[in-house]
């Protein structure tokens, strides 16, 4: 049997297809404005990669903030639960998950594969990937490079502002004072790590700590976060897909519980897809 998880995040959409044995394929691509069409396209792409057809998928779980826009999904589950499940599957000993996404940042407390507590950042972009995006734009650098660059500094600049807009102004001020880009970036990453740490501390950070999401791909951020936490953290080899992975695991569980009328369910899914094909 085959199960799919689709995670439509604010910046990246991820798909995982698995069977009873394990993960078959995973894909990730930028989320555009049109979630519905995208959902359809990414799943098609993943299916192609796996050499499967849509009919062969037994159960689909959608998650992420665009989850309500996946009409062919059999169930929708919050990304908090999905991340928790995905990470627990990869790291059975996990106790704290820190997910740093494009628009939000979450801390999730896990015990024995069950969620105990969670926390999410507020409406403000200050503790999220968005903060780094704005800063890399301001500095004219690529987002994927700034983490590495920050690691070259041995004298992080003092950055006191946590508000994204204020920090942007502070960056410009530091530049005008002649502070190097490395030091500024180091200071910013440190400030961001401090903010995330402080938020996640509300649910008590305990071993093992796993960092996921786009933020986990930023080596500078991970280093400063590790410093604040005070012990080593774990990072999945593909930190972007843990939500989609969790969704596919849940899809498998839910499929096992769904006994009757499976055929009917598949029919409905096909219709939904056809409908979107026509719209194309």
């Amino acid at each position: 049997m085959f199960f799919a998880g689709i995670d439509i995040g604010s910046t990246i959409t991820k798909v995982v297809i698995k069977n009873e044995e394990g993960i078959l394929v995973s894909t990730a691509q930028p989320t555009g404005a049109e979630h519905r069409r995208l959902a359809h396209e990414v799943i098609k792409g993943a299916l192609k990669k796996a050499g499967l057809t849509f009919d062969q998928i037994d159960f689909i779980v959608a998650t992420g903030y665009g989850r309500i826009n996946v009409p062919f999904a059999d169930a929708q589950v919050s990304e908090i639960t999905c991340h928790m499940r995905g990470v627990s599957w990869l790291f059975p000993g996990v106790s704290t998950v820190i997910d740093i996404g494009g628009q939000d940042c979450k801390g999730i407390k896990v015990a024995g594969g069950r969620m105990r507590n969670f926390i999410m950042n507020d409406k403000c972009a200050a503790g999220t990937g968005r903060f780094l995006e704005v800063i890399s734009d301001t500095l004219g650098l690529k987002l994927e490079d700034i983490g590495e660059i920050s690691l070259r500094s041995d004298n992080p600049a003092g950055v006191s502002k946590t508000c994204t807009i204020f920090a942007e102004q502070e960056v410009l001020l530091r530049l005008s004072e002649g502070v190097s880009v490395e030091d500024i970036l180091a200071g910013l990453h440190k400030a961001l790590a401090g903010r995330i740490h402080s938020m996640v501390s509300k649910i008590k950070i305990e071993k093992d700590v796993v960092i996921t999401g786009g933020g986990a791909k930023n080596a500078g951020l991970c280093k400063y976060l590790e410093e604040r936490i005070g012990f080593p953290v774990l990072i999945p080899s593909e930190p972007l897909i843990t939500g989609a992975l969790g969704a596919s695991i849940l899809a498998q569980e839910m499929a096992a519980k769904t006994s009757a009328d499976e055929q009917v369910k598949k029919e409905r899914k096909l219709e939904a897809v056809t409908f979107f094909d026509k719209e194309d």
Partner: protein
């Protein structure tokens, strides 16, 4: 690069203001010493109605977490405490002083009530009880109540009546309020006697009250001298010299100190020596300052010739109690109640004349603006202190409507420097200078005195 680095603290203009830090240190050291010697120590809110004087008369040493918060902010050591409080689930929107104290207390508890070594200014020792206060804001009793999770000590809330302007003038309301205050003070003394297992020393109290009133009277005289043009002292001076009158007015050293402040200010007035070299604009400041960046006022003075002639209503002593309220009052508690009530309501008449509310934080500015010939108001809405912020826009509207005095608004915080944008403050101030020029003309045309 070094020379570009801005000075964050203020140089202050009065010699006495530069010396006032002594009192903050004395207060903290005094409590730590008492604690070492096994004597009772308590933490108190600035109570404005002399609950702290009563407490001291019972032989208890006090320190003030609000002052400690301002101190930690001024040396830029508050952030770790704020973080530590927030990570225990306290919203980052609550009072900066409170978060600093909650974070500090949490650390204190985790260190078995031995003051952590890195505590700014030596830290505050574990208290026997917490003296909360119902005046001014909810934080000042909720915050102490919330410390229960770190230390099992009783909290006493000294309640303060808070009446409206019309209500102040109704029937026997004032009498009822004062009667209530006296009753609450008696309850408080009973609490202290029970806690310490000893009786109130009334003679000691009346001696302390005597010094208290003398200190306050001098502080008030200094306030009056500050009406002079040019300003003999500015806001950054006041925020230093206020420490003794807010926290230890019953200390003979505070009284001596105020005599020297008075002499210094008087000398400057008599010789027309301004606090800043070239005073061009006189401003008011409302209400609580950015403790972490007081140096900015020196920069405003230097760049634009702005003297902050008066500020922070709530930190100032009231005018002396009128004779008819003082006459024939033999009960010290009634005297305390009357004086404290006077502090909060002495501007009720001004409020009534101006058809506005409230008396606290608002009506006084209707008077200050004339008395101190203000060209503008600097509004500092605080991200974490609502009580000192709620009425700022209201004051701003009223000053414009009634006196054609403009305001500049710069958001920030008392403790949390993470939310204060210095660059923004500078650019706003630059633009505001023109606004003040314009309204000077307007006031002139409309026949205002300044």
């Amino acid at each position: 690069m070094e020379e570009k680095k801005k000075k964050k603290s203020s140089a202050k203009t009065l010699q006495t203001a530069r010396e006032a830090g002594y009192f903050g240190k004395k207060m903290l050291a005094g409590t730590r010493q008492a604690y070492e010697e096994g004597k009772p120590v308590a933490w108190s809110m600035v109570d404005w109605w002399m609950g702290s004087t009563i407490t001291k008369a019972m032989g208890i040493e006090l320190c003030y977490p609000e002052n400690y918060g301002a101190f930690c902010a001024s040396v830029r050591k508050a952030e770790p405490n704020l973080d530590y409080a927030e990570s225990d689930g306290v919203p980052n929107t609550i009072c900066g002083y409170a978060r600093n104290c909650i974070g500090y207390t949490r650390k204190l508890k985790e260190n078995n009530f031995i003051i952590p070594e890195d505590s700014p200014s030596g830290g505050m020792p574990k208290p026997l009880f917490l003296l909360a206060c119902g005046a001014v804001c909810d934080a000042r009793y909720k915050w102490f109540q919330s410390l229960g999770r770190y230390m099992e000590v009783p909290v006493w809330t000294l309640e303060f009546p808070q009446t409206g302007v019309n209500e102040y003038f109704m029937g026997d309301n004032k009498k009822d309020n004062i009667k209530f205050m006296v009753q609450e003070l008696r309850e408080f003394i009973a609490f202290l006697e029970n806690l310490l297992g000893k009786k109130m020393d009334w003679d000691n109290l009346s001696g302390k009250l005597d010094t208290f009133f003398k200190t306050h009277e001098l502080a008030h005289k200094v306030d009056l001298l500050r009406k002079s043009v040019p300003s003999p002292a500015v806001c950054t001076d006041f925020w230093s010299i206020m420490i003794p009158h807010l926290y230890m007015p019953e200390d003979p050293e505070a009284l001596d100190f105020y005599q020297r402040v008075y002499d210094e200010v008087k000398y400057k007035v008599d010789n027309k020596i301004g606090a800043i070299p070239n005073e061009k604009y006189r401003m008011l400041f409302g209400e609580l300052p950015p403790w972490h960046t007081l140096g900015i006022f020196d920069e405003f003075a230097e760049k634009y010739g702005v003297a902050f002639a008066f500020e922070s209503w709530n930190y100032h002593v009231p005018s002396p109690l009128p004779d008819d309220e003082r006459y024939g009052i033999n009960d010290p508690l009634e005297l305390i109640a009357r004086y404290s009530y006077h502090k909060f309501n002495e501007h009720a008449q001004v409020a009534r004349e101006q058809c506005m509310e409230p008396t606290l934080f608002t009506a006084p500015y209707m008077k200050f603006v004339k008395d101190y010939k203000a060209d503008g108001l600097f509004c500092h809405p605080l991200i974490s202190c609502r009580p000192a912020t709620y009425t700022l826009m209201h004051v701003r509207n009223l000053l414009m409507e009634k006196f054609k005095v403009p305001s500049v608004v710069v958001e920030g915080d008392i403790v949390d420097l993470r939310v204060f944008n210095e660059e923004e403050a500078h650019s706003k101030m630059e633009a505001f200078i023109e606004t003040m020029d314009h309204y000077r003309e307007v006031r002139k045309k409309e026949g205002f005195e300044w």
